[in-house]
């Protein structure tokens, strides 16, 4: 189901609004986010300073990215790890398949990785005869249902527990039908038992990496379930996949980012497990993978680095912007029609897939600014969405009617006298039409607004008139 249909955002959104299960799940996410985030950030007076520090770390790293990538590579190689540089999704898929084949692998256990979604890795491995099992609880549920994640850190947030129970009953055919499976505890237990065998049987473990540490050659992987730790330790071969912007210079830098990551993502102080791993098992170790491979992927990042969208490379994939976004909260992640939904998706998807395939996403914003307010890396998401709108407009990708409307407005707005006259006439007319109620229940050309709420009628005067009145004759409106 990894089809890309960002251009059908409106239809997707309408479907999402009519989906009662989805609406209930999204309402709960928004409620939880509103209550948990202030608590956890409020407990840490240094939170804002830590955000500033994390931004400085990432900006510095990006400005010297070539150096830190080379340093990371050298240190990982010194620890016995292999680095596979890959320019695009095809190259990364092939590199991973080749490692699996060389290892004689039949089964692959996977930790949660958004980059693997980005390159549609599972499809490729399955098509080439490998068994692939997602081990993160949410991702496992989605794999059974043939769905894609709808949130960066809560991939199955769009599902109700009853839907999950149905899925387990359908696929875990050895389940006793009389066994209660009503509560998340029972379902988690069921998944734990099934996946435990898969962990132990997997020949290759594939994980993402939250960070790469240049000075040590380490990867940092955070999970709550412990699946990240098991996926990278039990199989003979561990493959980690990461894009180039994941590197940070030093361990201390990684620790600073860790202090804001979980707090922003799930409202926890820190995730249960933060594993910093450096290369394969050592000669005297009694467990751990015999081989360690790091697939280092560009996939459009160097393009972002060179231009006005560089700041989006600071993203640590915490999902805070999604949880806080009213548009995401109304339609969910799938409506965005790609791997990344919500505000971060609206900025990333046009870069990764081309603005011609995703111009609808930056349009899907009220520009309320919530995303930028909560982004731990202070990425100016509304500003970047606005830039994509400019680009889409210049390339005539947006609807002709929208362009015509904007052209008319621009023509008028460049003629102040005409603009003021128009504004005065409109305000006066609307005031009269609005009558005593002072509201419109419907209005021609404004059906998009009035179909769900009333439009307050203007009170008569225009802004410019009021400006002159209150600032006196000397005031000059700018």
């Amino acid at each position: 189901m990894a089809h890309l249909d960002s251009l059908r955002f409106s239809e997707n959104a309408a479907r999402a609004k009519a989906d009662a299960n989805l609406q209930a799940a999204l309402a709960k996410l928004q409620r939880d986010t509103r209550t948990s985030r202030p608590v956890v950030t409020g407990r840490l007076p240094e939170f804002e300073a830590l955000r500033d520090r994390a931004v400085a770390i990432k900006n510095h790293t990006l400005a010297h990215l070539d150096h830190y990538l080379e340093q990371f590579e050298a240190n990982l190689q010194a620890a016995g790890g292999h680095v596979h540089w890959c320019s695009d999704a095809d190259a990364a898929r092939d590199a991973i398949l080749k490692i699996c084949r060389a290892a004689g692998a039949k089964t692959v256990g996977k930790g949660k990785s958004m980059v693997s979604e980005e390159i549609a890795l599972n499809d490729h491995l399955l098509a080439n005869g490998l068994e692939v099992v997602e081990t993160d609880l949410g991702e496992y549920i989605l794999q059974l249902r043939e769905e894609t994640p709808s949130h960066l850190v809560m991939p199955a947030i769009h599902l109700k527990k009853e839907q999950v129970a149905d899925t387990f009953r359908e696929f875990h055919t050895n389940l006793d039908p009389s066994r209660p499976l009503d509560e998340p505890e029972a379902m988690t237990e069921e998944a734990r038992n099934t996946l435990r065998e898969k962990f132990l049987a997997a020949d290759v473990g594939i994980t993402g990496a939250n960070m790469l540490v240049a000075e040590t050659g380490s990867i940092v992987v955070v999970t709550n379930e412990g699946n990240g730790g098991l996926t990278q330790t039990l199989p003979r071969v561990h493959i980690a996949i990461a894009t180039i912007e994941k590197v940070v210079p030093r361990i201390e830098d990684a620790l600073t980012v860790l202090r804001i990551l979980a707090r922003s993502a799930t409202g926890q102080e820190i995730t249960c497990y933060t594993t910093t791993a450096t290369g394969p098992r050592r000669p005297d170790d009694t467990d751990g993978p015999e081989e360690f491979h790091l697939v280092l992927l560009d996939n459009g990042r160097t393009k972002l680095l060179e231009g006005e969208f560089r700041e989006v490379l600071r993203c640590i994939r915490c999902g805070a912007c999604q949880s806080a976004c009213p548009v995401y909260g109304a339609v969910g992640g799938h409506a965005y029609g790609g791997v990344y939904g919500g505000p971060i998706g609206a900025v990333l998807m046009p870069a990764l897939n081309g603005i011609e395939h995703a111009w609808t996403l930056p349009e899907a914003s009220s520009f309320c600014g919530n995303c930028e307010a909560v982004c731990p890396m202070r990425i100016p998401l509304p500003g970047l969405m606005r830039r994509w709108r400019d680009i889409a407009h210049a390339r005539k990708l947006n609807k002709a009617r929208a362009r015509q409307g904007l052209a008319i407005w621009a023509w008028v707005a460049r003629r102040p006298a005409l603009y003021r006259l128009g504004a005065r006439l409109a305000a006066g007319t609307l005031k009269r039409l609005g009558g005593r109620r002072g509201r419109f229940r419907s209005l021609p050309l404004a059906g998009g607004w009035t179909s769900v709420r009333d439009l307050p009628a203007p009170e008569g005067g225009t802004f410019v008139e009021r400006w002159h009145r209150e600032r006196g004759a000397g005031g000059s409106p700018k």
Binding site: H64, I157, G226, L258, T278, E306
Partner: protein
């Protein structure tokens, strides 16, 4: 040209440079770690905070006066929790002086686990007061699997190893700035038993990692009263 050269070339192009990167100047912020206030304080306060924070994330904490008391405390706890007196233990000499011989009917196996051991006992390198996290490192005497596969993980931690922040724990791990193979293969911060909230955001304890995390703190920190 290799993909490596391609990517590094594109990075340099994007940064407006040609040729190899000179090592960047050490950024100003690198001279002073931004460590939260809650990670600071005298040793006794850090021990108290460590315990508070660990219990907040559903770990349980026990205290014993000396290393020789650890075995008896663990056996008593296993009995209280209704758990079998059967443990898989890190083959770490530091754990041998825990008084195992003094406890009858305790079945001890030393080495990594393949997933069929109900309870593990491992040493912890450090305790981090900031978030109640344990630092564990893998090595010949400390198999990684013992921290993840058993249903119950018991960690033995010296009170003197409880530090304030993550940086302090890492400084102890790499006193000479070790890199690459000079580091343990894994260094893990463990904060409470494993959990998930993937189904309707309901927190469920015990997913792929342990369902229980029990921390036995040995001895006292400076300024603490005897246990």
């Amino acid at each position: 040209m290799s993909a490596r050269d391609d990517i590094l070339g594109r990075v340099r192009g994007a940064l407006g440079r040609t040729g190899a990167a000179a090592p960047p100047p050490v950024p100003e912020y690198a001279n002073a770690a931004l460590v939260p206030e809650r990670a600071k304080g005298p040793p006794a306060a850090l021990v108290a905070r460590f315990i508070d924070m660990a219990e907040e994330v559903s770990a349980t904490v026990d205290r014993v006066a000396q290393r020789g008391d650890v075995a008896a405390a663990i056996a008593a706890w296993l009995d209280r929790e209704g758990l079998p007196r059967r443990i898989a233990m890190s083959p770490d000499p530091a754990l041998e002086s825990c008084g195992w011989d003094g406890v009858a009917d305790l079945d001890i196996r030393r080495g990594p686990t393949a997933g069929d051991d109900p309870v593990s006992v491992t040493p912890a390198v450090a305790g981090v007061a900031e978030t109640g996290s344990l630092m564990v490192a893998s090595g010949p005497r400390t198999p990684y699997t013992l921290n993840f596969l058993p249903d119950t993980h018991i960690a033995v931690l010296d009170a003197g190893r409880i530090v304030g922040g993550y940086e302090d724990a890492w400084a102890g791990m790499r006193p000479n700035g070790e890199t690459g193979a000079a580091l343990p293969r894994t260094v893990t911060l463990i904060t409470g038993p494993s959990r998930s909230s993937d189904i309707e955001r309901t927190v469920t304890i015990g997913v792929h990692g342990p369902r229980r995390l029990h921390i036995v703190i040995v001895g006292t920190a400076d300024g603490e009263e005897a246990v």
